[in-house]
């Protein structure tokens, strides 16, 4: 595979990876978050939080992916970018790292949202949402 082919394949592969990271994080936290949100008294707010939750994990993962630019100081033109395979691999590594970083920040922010939800709902133990 030539460098241009590698660029195309690797770029779309990392984009898919970003989506799967975002959706994987959503899947991992979905059930406990849903149970936690049940403590919110306002039904409309509960529904809103449930709608925002997948977006709030998927979009940061994609934002991390697109935040890495191939046009660095050394490689300004397309021809220069595809000249060096090692440079392309390095950019892929940076993309994966950025996806992980952005997603970590998003998880922390959702932790703060969960904290506010719990404070708002005054933690009602009688609801007993059992999530394993």
């Amino acid at each position: 595979m030539n460098n241009e082919g590698f660029l195309i394949v690797s770029n779309f592969a990392v984009a898919l990876l970003a989506m799967s990271f975002g959706l994987g994080a959503y899947h991992w936290l979905r059930r406990p978050f849903s149970g936690l949100v049940k403590a919110v008294p306002a039904v409309a707010f509960r529904r809103l939080l449930r709608k925002f939750f997948p977006l709030g994990l998927l979009l940061p993962a994609l934002a991390g992916f697109v935040s890495v630019s191939y046009r660095g100081c050394d490689a300004g033109t397309y021809a220069k970018i595809i000249e060096n395979r090692a440079y392309l691999v390095q950019k892929n590594q940076e993309q994966v790292a950025a996806i992980a970083d952005y997603l970590a920040v998003a998880v922390l922010v959702w932790g703060v949202v969960a904290l506010l939800v719990l404070l708002l709902a005054r933690s009602r133990p009688e609801q007993g949402n059992h999530v394993r």
Binding site: L29, V107, G111, A114, L118
Partner: protein, 118 residues
């Protein structure tokens, strides 16, 4: 990237993920106990435990994958060790920041909810 670097890269990844699981396993029982006692909502306890594991995993992955391997094929063994140690150091540093931010959340939660329960 030659195979020497790939092996080093793989070792670095395994160490980072191993440390992640080790740290989480160490913290989980007491954190679970605290959260169960303070929040009194099983779903919220599970959410905070899972988010901690996810955070540690993402931090470890971000640091190790983003690390540049620029060791020459004929480099001495210790140069590889230094490279792995450097990446591990970055992972530990970011773990520290993660713990600080996570613990701020848990402290606020504990302080406010405990006062309300009393």
């Amino acid at each position: 990237m030659n195979w020497y670097n790939l092996v080093g890269y793989g070792i670095q990844l395994v160490i980072a993920l191993g440390v992640t699981l080790g740290v989480y396993a160490m913290l989980r029982p007491s954190l679970r106990e605290l959260l169960a006692e303070v929040i009194r909502l099983p779903a919220a306890t599970v959410f905070y435990l899972r988010s901690l594991l996810l955070l540690l995993f993402l931090v470890a992955l971000g640091e190790t994958v983003g690390d540049k391997w620029e060791v020459a094929a004929d480099a001495a063994f210790m140069e590889y060790v230094w490279n792995v140690a450097h990446a591990a150091g970055q992972v530990f540093k970011n773990f520290l920041w993660t713990f600080i931010l996570y613990l701020v959340q848990i402290t606020i939660l504990t302080a406010v909810l405990r006062r309300r329960h009393e």
